[in-house]
């Protein structure tokens, strides 16, 4: 098995000539939780989509577990999209079963555990769930997969503090960091800071810094939020 879960080599991505990522290279070690931080439009979602194999680089290469990222890696990557992808006419339980049918590594037993951890009712229809509970359900779907790579695009955005807290808690208790690597984009930096190993700061399609979060505190004596301000000012 390769050391690195995700590897970007000189990746440039243009959308209709507009530069989204400009010659980006980095790799992610296994078993770490990494946050992608940066202003809106800086390229965070593009990095996640590339790692999920949903879009292709204009130049350079993206590999996941040593394989080129394309549609065929969907079985090894759990990708939580920013947009709503749940079917409104399913109940919560039907949504779980539907996903269990889609992905061979979906652990239905684990899904039910996380469901009760999050206080979600299995019989409720998705269309009757609050936004917070839809956010929770999306997390349940991502965490129930035994995929070696979990990608989450803004899992906390637009949710109230209680929901955010329950999502962070369920990540701590249900991720298997022996075998799983997490990359997520977020603006709620202060809240996720305690659960992070690494942070990648990105601005205008370029990576400005990759740092170990504990190092930032130890060597710079800065909280992550203050460090980000410095990284962006560079």
């Amino acid at each position: 098995m390769s050391e690195h879960t995700v590897k970007f080599t000189n990746v440039t991505k243009k959308y209709l000539g507009r530069m989204a990522l400009n010659n980006v290279s980095f790799d992610l070690p296994r078993g770490k939780i990494t946050a992608l931080v940066g202003p809106n439009g800086s390229g965070k979602s593009t990095i996640l989509k590339l790692a999920a194999g949903l879009v292709h680089p204009t130049q350079g290469s993206v590999t996941v577990l040593g394989k080129t990222a394309n549609r065929r890696i969907a079985g090894e990557v759990a990708y939580l999209s920013e947009s709503d992808f749940l079917y409104p006419f399913f109940t919560v339980e039907e949504t779980l079963k539907f996903n269990a049918g889609l992905f061979a590594d979906f652990d239905l037993q684990k899904a039910k555990e996380i469901l009760s951890f999050m206080d979600l009712e299995p019989d409720k229809k998705v269309k009757h769930l609050s936004k917070g509970n839809r956010g929770r359900l999306k997390i349940v779907l991502a965490l129930s997969r035994r995929a070696p790579l979990i990608l989450m695009d803004e899992p906390l955005s637009g949710l109230d503090p209680m929901v955010r807290d329950s999502i962070i808690k369920s990540m701590i208790s249900h991720l298997d960091l022996q075998g799983q690597t997490v990359l997520m984009s977020t603006h709620e930096v202060a809240e996720v800071e305690p659960v992070l190993d690494l942070v990648i700061s990105i601005n205008e399609g370029k990576i400005t810094c990759i740092e170990d979060v504990e190092n930032i505190r130890e060597q710079h004596g800065l909280s992550l939020v203050d460090w980000m301000k410095e990284a962006l000012a560079k």
Partner: protein, 127 residues
């Protein structure tokens, strides 16, 4: 409920200090089993990798030991725990003295102030 952390010090160090204080206060006894990495991560609201680092550090300091398949336990070595108690005491006192000296107090003033605070005028404490 997750505890709040000071933003400018490594989290693993803060958890380490908390655990050491709990041991010194006797809240965690010699030979007692520590929560599993995941339980502790959940209690503190931190990454399990961070707790792993705390436990490894406790082991390196010989304050805890890991028993394969059973988890981490506080050492039963009472002399090590006594030494930890002394260490924490000395650290606190040194920090206090350094602060006081920087503010310009003489050793006599510091001693007198501490004595008065601890022993004299008990009725007026806690202002």
């Amino acid at each position: 409920m997750s505890q709040a952390f000071n933003n400018t010090q490594p989290i693993y160090l803060q958890i380490l200090q908390r655990l050491c204080r709990q041991v010194v206060r006797g809240e965690i006894k010699a030979g007692e089993k520590l929560p599993s990495v995941r339980e502790m991560a959940l209690q503190c609201g931190v990454n399990p990798n961070t707790v792993q680092r705390v436990y490894a550090e406790l082991e390196r300091l010989e304050i805890a030991e890991t028993r394969r398949g059973l988890g981490s336990f506080i050492t039963e070595d009472e002399t090590r725990l006594k030494r930890l108690r002394e260490q924490l005491k000395n650290e606190q006192i040194e920090r206090f003295i350094a602060d006081m000296e920087e503010t310009g107090f003489s050793p006599e003033e510091i001693l007198a102030g501490v004595r008065e605070r601890l022993l004299g005028n008990k009725g007026q404490r806690g202002d």
